[in-house]
Amino acid sequence: MSVHDDKDRPQARHDHNDGGAAPGHDHNAPDSGPTLRVKALEALLIEKGIVEADALDALVDTYEHRVGPRNGARVVARAWTDPAYKKRLLADATAAIAEAGVAPGLEGEHMVALENTPKVHNLVVCTLCSCYPWPVLGLPPVWYKSAAYRSRAVSDPRGVLRDFGVELARGVEVRVWDSSAELRYLVIPMRPRGSEKLSVDELAAIVTRDAMIGTAIVKYPPAPAGG
């Protein structure tokens, strides 16, 4: 866990020399990239006691190292191997996810699980911003927040799946879920043929993040490095 030492701490000087326009819009000042503005903002908020540096460190550590897709993979593996659990998961995902030991938290208060079947493939997007189920999948990948994905997922889902190398059979119906409110969605991919003998942990290991968004199919043996 990369604990911040003091020299990294952003500094804030308190002398109000000029009330210049908010720096947010000054694109060509030297080194005006986000680094400087974020450092300044943090310094100011810390100085005013609005945020504490350690709390920030803890939040970074939580979402960079503790909360991630492995949580969701455990839920999927359990659903694959425990029909009663899958029933509970599909009925009340928020409770079933907590039951699987995933700490409830931000962006996971109202979970819905979506089961992929031979007939129906589910795909999750947030066309308006980046809504995503943090507790089970961690923070969203850049592509999930991109204009390319957000624009076409709802109008050309098969085209988007092709961008991920996934070609769905003609007969499979695609259901796209636009997370436009407080609900957060977890796709339960189909269990791959040939994985019958794997343990729950071994199954969890082959479940990729993308498969839990709906932009990938779980393969066994797993394809080389994937999202």
Partner: protein
């Protein structure tokens, strides 16, 4: 607000580029920006609806050219100033200061709040619950609404017919909550739209788009037709069906500017 953020159904952004095994954060400043924003939510500096709306108000070209956490930076700077938490002057001074070599000593360390509870948002109401106007299976039309302010009704769905598939209960209404207009809690439904209804009759038959829509975004479909009783998509769970009484419709912002 019909802003650039409302991307559903747009063309021209090319194939989805996805980086295998990408890191959670792509630069140190992204770590700090992420954490600061979550902490500010925890402090109730602003709510999520205000935050989203601040980002929606970015100039469209900037929104498209900047990265995700630059959106967060813009949103926080803007709201902190608008809400008087900081002044533009303070921000510029801090900004200038951080170009400089020395700076002020930082306040002593305090015990950090546990992340999980750091920013609880009371989104789903526990107390008095308004009645649901719609039930699973109801045929609805997403209203033609173009409020100048924040809304979660995507443009591609407005005026389109759909079927209520699930009632998720009562939630704070973003269109008022983003503008200090109160929670105006109301039911929120997953509504199923046929791909053909959204994109045209040439669209492949089976495809469907499910959108989560607040009650104020919906009206019953005028043409009386038999209720759909086919197996709802997604979860079989349906909320107990309270009697349907028309709740007072929240006044959504009119299209015409009065300023």
């Amino acid at each position: 607000m019909n802003g650039i953020h409302d991307l559903g159904g747009m063309d021209g952004f090319g194939a989805v580029i996805h980086e295998a095994g990408e890191p959670v954060f792509h630069a140190p400043w992204e770590r700090r920006m992420f954490a600061m924003t979550i902490a500010l939510f925890g402090r109730r500096a602003f709510n999520v609806d205000e935050f989203r709306h601040a980002i929606e108000r970015m100039p469209a070209a900037d929104y498209l050219r900047t990265t995700y956490y630059e959106h967060w930076l813009h949103g926080c700077e803007r709201l902190l100033i608008e809400k008087g938490v900081v002044t533009a002057g303070e921000l510029s001074a801090a900004y200038a200061a951080n170009g400089g070599p020395d700076g002020m000593a930082l306040p002593a360390r305090a015990t950090p709040p546990s992340p999980a509870t750091a920013a609880r948002r009371p989104r789903a109401a526990q107390d008095k619950k308004p009645r649901a106007r719609f039930r699973v299976g109801d045929r609805i039309v997403a209203r033609i609404l173009n409020p100048p302010g924040h809304t979660r009704l995507p443009r591609y769905a407005r005026g389109r017919r759909g079927v209520v598939r699930r009632d998720h209960g009562v939630f704070v209404f973003p269109d008022t909550s983003a503008h200090g207009g109160g929670a105006n809690r109301q039911h929120c439904y997953t509504v199923e739209f046929a791909g053909r209804e959204l994109w045209g009759r040439d669209y492949p038959a089976g495809e469907r788009v499910m959108i989560d829509l607040w009650e104020d975004y919906l009206e019953a479909e005028k043409v009386p037709s038999r209720r759909i009783t086919m197996q709802p998509a997604g979860n079989p769970r349906t909320v107990a069906k309270p009697a349907r009484i028309a709740t007072a419709k929240a006044k959504t912002g009119s299209r015409m500017r009065t300023r």
